[in-house]
């Protein structure tokens, strides 16, 4: 089945993430049905589809919040290390496989300061440096040095998302758009090889969406990581993505570069519904009034 849809795109490099035959069932409901695709390093892969198409479920499988019913998820690091994500417990996927994500409904540590949010993101690095708190409690210099580096990394990303002035603010008090940007900065502070963004442009105004697109392009081009993006805002998706995967009712219906997907009849059908009239050839259509007239006379 993949062969019929995999037409718009040629495989160039070894992919960063390979999803094979992924299926997720909740009781009788099949949320994701036999989906296969791959995402590459240094590319933005967008996953689009109508509401309820299974996009977030797919994300939750990749980031370890769900264990898929069937399927295999392989992540390859640049150094050749491979991780089978479907076999790893949730937190390990971020800790070892270096996959970071954001959430559809923002999940910041609202009561903590902006800077603290970014420091918590570097937890694993820091807790090792603090000797699981023993060296930290004693105030050994090895820990203070690592903490300084962590603050530098946080500063770099705060500067990127233009929140440097707000570093000491309570994260929950930031305006909505700033919270979205902070969540991306927090995910980037884990130094991931793949960043998964669940509707990052939801609730943003056009100017903010534009800035978001710029930020994502920057992350892709400067940090050379793979970005996986769920988004409804087509202006963002079509301008920045290198590769688009379309889901509908849990199935993959199209896969290719933005231009290909935009013109794929299957995608148009999924988004706009079928136009029954067009199924009829033009000569039959022309005869329709005549047929109707005769039927009337006959009655």
């Amino acid at each position: 089945m993949e062969d019929t849809v995999m037409t718009g795109r040629s495989m160039t490099t070894t992919p960063l993430l390979t999803v094979e035959h992924l299926t997720m069932r909740f009781g009788g409901l099949v949320a994701v049905n036999d989906v296969s695709f791959s995402a590459s390093n240094g590319e933005i892969t967008a996953i689009i589809g109508p509401n309820g198409a299974g996009k977030t479920t797919l994300f939750n499988c990749i980031t370890g919040f769900y264990t898929p019913t069937v399927g295999r998820l392989t992540l390859r690091h640049a150094n050749g290390k491979e991780f089978l994500l479907e076999r790893m417990p949730g937190y390990r996927i971020s800790q070892q496989a270096s996959v970071a994500r954001t959430f559809q409904n923002i999940r910041l540590f609202g009561g903590m300061s902006v800077l603290e949010n970014l420091i918590v993101a570097q937890h694993n690095k820091l807790i090792r440096a603090s000797g699981f708190s023993i060296a930290g409690l004693l105030g050994l210099p090895s820990y203070t040095k690592t903490e300084r580096e962590a603050v530098e990394l946080a500063k770099y990303w705060l500067d990127r998302v233009r929140l440097l002035e707000f570093a000491d603010w309570e994260a929950g008090n930031l305006p909505y758009g700033a919270q979205r940007r902070l969540e991306i900065a927090r995910a980037m502070c884990t130094e991931p090889v793949m960043l998964c963004l669940d509707e990052p442009a939801a609730g943003l105004n056009p100017r903010e969406s534009g800035e978001l697109a710029e930020l994502l392009t920057y992350i892709r081009d400067e940090h050379k990581i793979g970005v996986l993006l769920i988004e409804h805002d087509m202006s963002v998706v079509m301008t920045i993505s290198d590769h688009v995967v379309v889901l509908d009712y849990g199935r993959k219906i199209s896969d290719g570069d933005p231009a290909f997907v935009k013109n794929d009849p299957a995608v148009i059908r999924a988004y706009l519904g079928e136009e029954e009239d067009e199924e009829l050839p033009p000569e039959v259509k022309a005869d329709l009034p005549e047929v109707a007239k005769r039927a009337e006379e006959g009655a």
Binding site: S113, E116, H123, L137, W169, T190
Partner: protein, 503 residues
């Protein structure tokens, strides 16, 4: 009457006010008849009823007058009410009243109404909105938090010097030890509840494990207190891990219920394992602590051991041991405090707070939630165990009766009342919850009533706790920097944005 008279110079609508006051008094009557008016007493013939109608009448009358005062404040006669309320408070202080309860209600009620009147005079309104009240309380909490930086060391110095002041008699030292024990337990539980955000309703179980560890080790093996103190902490921590492993995957209410069950399980084991723990009779003759294993606090020590008073060339006094116990618990409590203050600035403490804020986000950042929660649980349990073995050595006798659910509830109340995660809040709340009842021993009958009332009022006025205010553990811009730390909390609006755009 300057501010008020301009806004409302209208005449008093007496019938309306009287009706309102009468209604309130009626509600008070319905409540006080069962709560105050009737009292069960033990008689030789069985259970008897005692009535206290005069106290009911006094309470209802005072409620009527109080409501009248509040109405008059609303109507714009705050100054008159202030004078009357102040007079009532003074009367409570200086004039002998038939009962102690009446006196306290008079003083308390008078003071509350006087404060309301002052507020009305200063703001020109009789009531503050919830948001304004929150903002003011937040401001106070932030100020206290900042003041605690110099207030804390002063309090420690005062606590250190206290046994040498002429004030320090046996009774006050005992109260001091009691307060410090609860402060230590509160600080210990604060790690689990305040930082990690896990509602633990069975903290007393670890207190019991610590107490019984020492008592049993001393009873069966003759171990000394100084050997048992770390052992008791270790055993309590192990029991925390043991409980934690199966339980920490539960969330919220379910977690709370299981910890509640664990607290009861420990107590019931202690009651029923008669051969080992002595059952409901408890364990008596628990050895008192020695002076770091060097000297004893007895007048005539056993063969081969030195006596504390002889060693330091002092006159023998039974107070020496009390003072030593006082310092012991002070040091133990300060260790807990120091640990919490430091760990908050470490990845472990930050991860706990992050777990409290959003544990799903924590998983997405690669934080091993189970290990973090287990660490919080084990460390808090260890401190509970230390406190428990101290309790055992101080009392010399323990029984399961000391480790009932109400103890857990009181410790939790201290943490919640003080403001979750606030170290100074725990101290203030302990003074209120444990200190006040000690100060008003005569009113022991009304203890639970006032306790409940206090909790209801706090939940209404200040649901996050008295001194709930959190300062960031790390600042990028320092205190004077743009959009400083205060901007993040109370004055989130203008100041920070102004500071940001000025750059």
């Amino acid at each position: 009457m300057t501010a008020i008279s301009m806004s409302s110079p209208r005449a008093i609508a007496w019938p309306v006010i009287l009706k309102e006051a009468a209604m309130t008094a009626f509600v008070a009557l319905l409540l006080t008849i069962p709560l105050v008016g009737l009292r069960t007493v033990d008689r030789p013939t069985g259970l008897g009823l005692e009535t206290r109608w005069n106290e009911v009448a006094a309470a209802v009358g005072l409620v009527f007058l109080g409501r009248l005062g509040l109405c008059l404040i609303r109507e714009g006669h705050a100054v008159t009410v202030l004078v009357l309320a102040a007079a009532a408070t003074a009367a409570g202080f200086f004039i002998a009243m038939p009962t102690e309860a009446l006196r306290v209600i008079l003083i308390g009620g008078g003071a509350v109404i006087a404060i309301r009147a002052i507020l009305a005079i200063r703001t020109g309104r009789s009531k503050l909105s919830q948001a304004e009240r929150d903002k003011r309380m937040d401001h106070i909490a932030a100020q206290v938090q900042h003041a605690s930086r110099w207030l804390g060391p002063i309090a420690v110095v005062v606590a250190l010097a206290f046994p040498f002041t002429p004030l320090a008699d046996r009774q006050l030292l005992d109260i001091g030890i009691l307060l410090l024990t609860y402060i230590m337990l509160g600080w210990g539980l604060n790690i689990v509840v305040g930082l990690a955000g896990l509602l633990d309703l069975g903290y007393v179980a670890f207190y019991a494990v610590g107490a019984y560890s020492y008592a049993l080790l001393a009873h069966y093996f003759g171990f000394s207190f100084w050997v048992c103190l770390p052992l008791a902490g270790f055993l309590a921590a192990m029991s925390g891990v043991l409980l934690g492993f199966p339980v920490l995957r539960l969330r919220g209410d379910y977690f709370a219920i299981v910890t509640l069950g664990f607290g009861e399980i420990i107590r019931i084991i202690l009651i029923n394992w008669y051969q080992f723990t002595g059952g409901p009779n408890g364990i008596s003759g628990i050895p008192r602590p020695s002076f770091f294993g060097i000297a004893d606090f007895t007048r005539t020590p056993a063969e081969g051991t030195a006596a504390f008073h002889e060693m330091f060339g002092l006159e023998f006094s039974p107070l020496h041991r009390i003072i030593f116990l006082y310092y012991l618990i002070l040091v133990l409590a300060l260790v807990v405090n120091l640990f919490t203050m430091r760990v908050r600035k470490l990845p472990l403490g930050r991860a706990w707070e992050a777990l409290r804020e959003d544990d799903i986000a924590c998983a997405s950042l690669g934080i091993n939630r189970t290990n973090m929660k287990l660490a919080a649980f084990a460390i808090a349990a260890m401190f509970g165990g230390f406190a428990g073995s101290f309790f055992a050595t101080r009392q010399g006798f323990i029984s399961p009766e000391s480790f009932t659910f109400i103890e857990s509830a009181i410790i939790l109340a201290i943490v919640v009342l003080g403001g979750m995660g606030s170290q100074i809040g725990v101290v203030v709340a302990t003074l209120l919850v444990i200190g006040l009842p000690e100060a008003f021993r005569e009113l022991a009958d009304y203890r639970m009533l006032t306790f409940g009332m206090g909790m209801v009022l706090i939940m209404l006025w200040r649901p996050r706790g008295l001194l709930a205010h959190r300062d960031p553990t790390i600042l990028l811009h320092g205190k004077g920097g743009a959009g400083g730390p205060a901007a993040g909390t109370a004055a989130a609006g203008g100041q920070g944005i102004a500071g940001g755009s000025a750059k």
